[in-house]
């Protein structure tokens, strides 16, 4: 049951191998994986939108979409048709090339990241030994594309959104990368497959430095894909719809798809790095992976349903003055924990991390809520 998809692929290859030359067989094996990835990407994106609307609906004591299809299951199909049939308006002063290129160039990296994600035991499309570096390279291209979209549509709100996203992406890229360093320290390799195998007996999140690294990585991931509470680039209440104000129809659908695929890949990476990827006792490996990823996606939607938005300078301040120092201390703690090993290392890492957390929250006075007392006069 565990190797279901792998066996299916081998059977298909044997079938093709019967009457095709071997170069065609290897080509078709690549094509099968690529086809599976793209279909998976689109399928995930469609049903993530439905899941998000249902989850946030339930949090707000309402039902969420249930008109199209049995429990609203066809709602994504209806959305897709609507997006495709809507008129695609290009504002007159806009820069046509940038306006056309931006949605295309935002979906490509979102799909390329899927190659590195280990969906199950030896079910990684391409198990590069620089998997993690590849992931960071791909996810950092979206910065430039969002600014291109914002600047290209010649709209004051869009350019404001574009500038905000550049500031946000850069300031959250640094703590994100630093938070992954402890994982590399303990595994010794960048390839996602090896990282998951290294967590066979002990998930990294259960170690003190692993927990802090997971929280930092997840928060920075949420900021990378512009989701609440860091959704400044597309803040509806302030700058209408941020960088994708002037995009409609298919172009808007591509932005929408890219945002959800980034969210999925961030959740998948957090699960892979810290929650032990597809490691799990009874269930088949790929089912474990889906469970962990979708629980993290639920947390993302939970954030969106509850938390208000940060202001631009607070968002940057949080990254540079809070998450970055915490990530650096985390590397020190991880080193200590691995060097000393055993309970001594565990305790010392824990003390250092908690101490630094308290110290940092003292340093950032302006982020901690003031105590206020209110007079009840008559």
């Amino acid at each position: 049951m565990d190797q279901l998809f792998v066996n299916l692929k081998n059977m298909a290859l044997h079938l093709i191998g019967v009457f095709a030359p071997d170069w065609l067989v290897s080509l078709s094996s690549i094509l099968i994986s690529v086809g599976a990835m793209t279909f998976l990407g689109i399928f995930i994106m469609m049903y993530l939108t439905l899941m998000e609307r249902k989850v946030i609906g339930r949090m707000q004591n309402r039902i969420g979409p249930n008109r199209v299809g049995k429990w609203g299951l066809l709602q994504p199909v209806a959305d897709a048709i609507k997006m495709l049939t809507k008129e695609d308006i290009v504002p007159e002063p806009a820069d046509r090339l940038l306006h056309f290129l931006a949605p295309v160039m935002i979906v490509i990296p979102a799909l390329l990241i899927f190659a590195v994600i280990p969906f199950g035991r030896n079910m990684t499309a391409l198990d590069l030994n620089v998997g993690l570096l590849y992931f960071f390279a791909m996810s950092s291209t979206t910065t430039m594309v969002i600014f291109m979209a914002g600047w290209g549509s010649r709209n004051k709100y869009a350019s404001l959104g574009g500038m905000r996203s550049v500031a946000q992406m850069i300031s959250y890229e640094v703590p994100m990368v630093l938070s992954v360093v402890p994982v590399l320290l303990s595994v010794g390799s960048l390839s996602t497959g090896k990282i998951v195998e290294a967590q066979a007996d002990l998930w990294f999140v259960l170690t003190p430095w692993g927990f802090f690294a997971c929280v930092i990585f997840f928060l920075c991931g949420v900021a990378e894909c512009n989701r609440s509470p860091f959704d400044l680039p597309e803040a509806e209440s302030e700058i209408v719809a941020g960088f994708h104000t002037e995009f409609s129809g298919m172009k808007f659908a591509l932005f929408y798809m890219a945002e959800f695929m980034n969210a999925f890949s961030i959740a998948a990476l957090t699960a892979t790095l810290f929650l032990g990827g597809w490691q799990g006792p009874l269930l088949p490996s790929w089912l474990w992976f889906i469970l962990k990823t979708y629980s993290l996606l639920f947390v993302m939607m939970w954030f969106r349903g509850t938390l208000p938005r940060l202001r631009a300078d607070q968002m940057m301040g949080l990254a540079w003055k809070f998450l970055l120092p915490l990530a650096l201390v985390n590397i020190l703690a991880a080193g200590l924990h691995l060097y000393l090993g055993g309970p001594a290392g565990f305790a010392s890492a824990l003390i250092i991390l908690l101490g630094s957390f308290m110290g940092l929250s003292k340093v950032n006075r302006s982020y901690v809520p003031e105590k206020r007392e209110y007079v009840l006069a008559d």
Binding site: V55, R58, M59, N61, I63, W302, F303, T306, L307
Partner: protein
Amino acid sequence: MLFGMGILRGLGVTLKNFFASYYKKPEEGGLFTVEYPEKRLPVKERFRNFPFLVYDTTPENMRCVACDICAKECPPKCIYIVRDNDEAGRPLKKPAIFDIDFTVCMNCGICEEVCPFDAIYMDHEFEIADANRLDALLYNLPDLLKPNDYFQKIRPNDAAQVDARRLEAEEKKKAAVAAVKTQAAAKDIKPE
């Protein structure tokens, strides 16, 4: 207390609501949205939407006597009445034309209050949307007329009070007529 505690407690509230919407009843925080076309919320008795004219048994003997008080009192002036007159040209106690423009009416209920003949009351029917704004929402006499038992069905208490008052006025009138008749009879006997 710890830096992130406020946010965590807030998240706790939404999570509680998330699970509550599955098993709790609507009153104590469960799912309280009603899926409109299939299930509907009961309309309260005093709910007022656009007015309608009441007739007792057949549309002929409607209560409205075209006294034009409601048209004068209506704030946005959306009622138009033309008195009917019989073939000899004498005015009748019946309106020939009674139009209410539902695009102008703001269902404030003043016509119901000022009508001295209990002829016009506020309806509970609110699904009257229509594609054509000018003609479809200009209700004239036939569309406005509704029987008294419809009025009893939608507003039982108010209708009961109105009918009691009308009945009592009826008795008083009959008694007064009877009194006048006996008085007239008494007068006839005396002069002979």
